[in-house]
Amino acid sequence: MATDLLLTVSIQGVVQQIVFGLATGGLYASLALALVLIYRAMETLNFAQGEMATFTTFIAWSLLTYLRLPYWLVFPVTVALAVVGGVLVERVIIRPVERAPVITLVLVTIGLFAIFNGLSGIVWGYVVRPFPSPLPTSPVQVGGVGLSYQDLGLIGVSTIVLVLIWLFFARTRIGLMMRSAALYPQTSRLLGVRVGWMLALGWGLAAGVGAVSGMLVAPITVLDPNMMQSVLLYAFTAAVLGGIDSPVGAVVGGLVVGVLLALVGTYVPHAEDLRLAFGFIVILVVLVFRPGGLFGHVHVERV
């Protein structure tokens, strides 16, 4: 048994799994980034993030299928629609409970989960549908490691999204106002900032990033109303691992979770069935030994 295991482990095989892991990690990373954006704005987890992403991916599918628009047009249009939708969801559904305790907010996002999941099912049905990928799945060899253009695209897109988000927060006036509004709502209002709209914009951005992740996931799994549910779980793991309030942490966390899952799935016998459990184990270990995650702030308060 032990020799069996040893025989199957080769350096090249490990590298191969790491590369696969990075590619799937890109999926978790983009949804984790969306979770972090909401968390930074209102210190709550949005359980509906995955279902919102699924819903927008169905919209993309309709644009591709019924309007026959080209993929490269559908992609930005879907992201834009998602941003508008996210803003609307915040203004209409979150706003009345904006100042409610976190537990209320969490319950509302669980309600949103059910609503968006149900809407996707009612509008598009539970038939499994293929979703196109802009990049071919044909393999490329990089230094003896085989991967596909699609895998490279996953890593590339999640990196680009992270850089764009970072630039937005670090370099733009609106980004600065959003950071200020999230951290210091009272003072920001005294400076003229409409804090409620900044929060709505945060939801819009998160929904936009979520839409990207939905369109990345759909070609790999298949498009159906439940496709994001396991992704959401790993995205939570990634976000917690990264420190829940750190965008960089979310992406690094996503990639790490992807790699760990690939290695566990390949080299630990019968671990395929335990992958979900593994996500929870990672959360638990991180929370016990490093409550602030890899990149998060540990809040120290004077009492």
């Binding site: 106002m177 200020s180 009272q186 003072t187 209002r189 005294l190 400076l191 003229g192 900032v193």
Partner: protein
Amino acid sequence: MPLLELENVTASYGSIEVLHGISLAVDEGSVVAMLGANGAGKSTTLRAISGMVKVSGGITFSGRSIAGLPPEDVARRRIAHVPEGRGMLAQLTVLENLQMGACLRRDGDGVKRDLERVFGYFPWMPQRSAQTAGLLSGGEQQMLAIARALMMRPRLLLLDEPSLGLAPTVVRSIFEIIGRINREEGVTILLVEQNARIALRAAARAYVLEVGEIAVSGSGRELARNESVRRSYLGY
């Protein structure tokens, strides 16, 4: 006509009324001080003006009612409130704090010029602009809060206890700058102070608050001579 006028303003936190009908006037271009003990309602009066507490009664700014407006709309009328505790955006840098003061302005060139002017008042600021605001000393934070308010290009500046917790030399230099801002920028200033001595020296007019009501008012010089004010607030 005064720039700011309060008429019979009452304010409550929950069911507890803390202002019982305040009336006061601030002339354009003047410095007005509000004195009084802890809990007299000085800070609440400023918070009432900037819309941070629910009020009834009349608040008129530049001839138009601002009573009941939310803080962000009061700020948009160029009333800058430096709150109690300075309201630092502590995790942001010094420069980001200043940018937040100007976050609604569309005149990029004007903002750049104002930044230079603000740096003229506070020469230590440019070389520390990348530092996190929360790591500044108390006096530096107070100066940054005033500088940030100036970036709003205010018509009225509300200052809540600018001397709080600061060493006497720092207090003197801050009040010197407050005086210059009033004279050189023409900014009208309403300030709340426990340090009556320095406030009365800076202010043309002063009001003394006692448990949510105005007890005495007059010119700074008159109040400095007033027997009961001297005994209660100046301690001599």
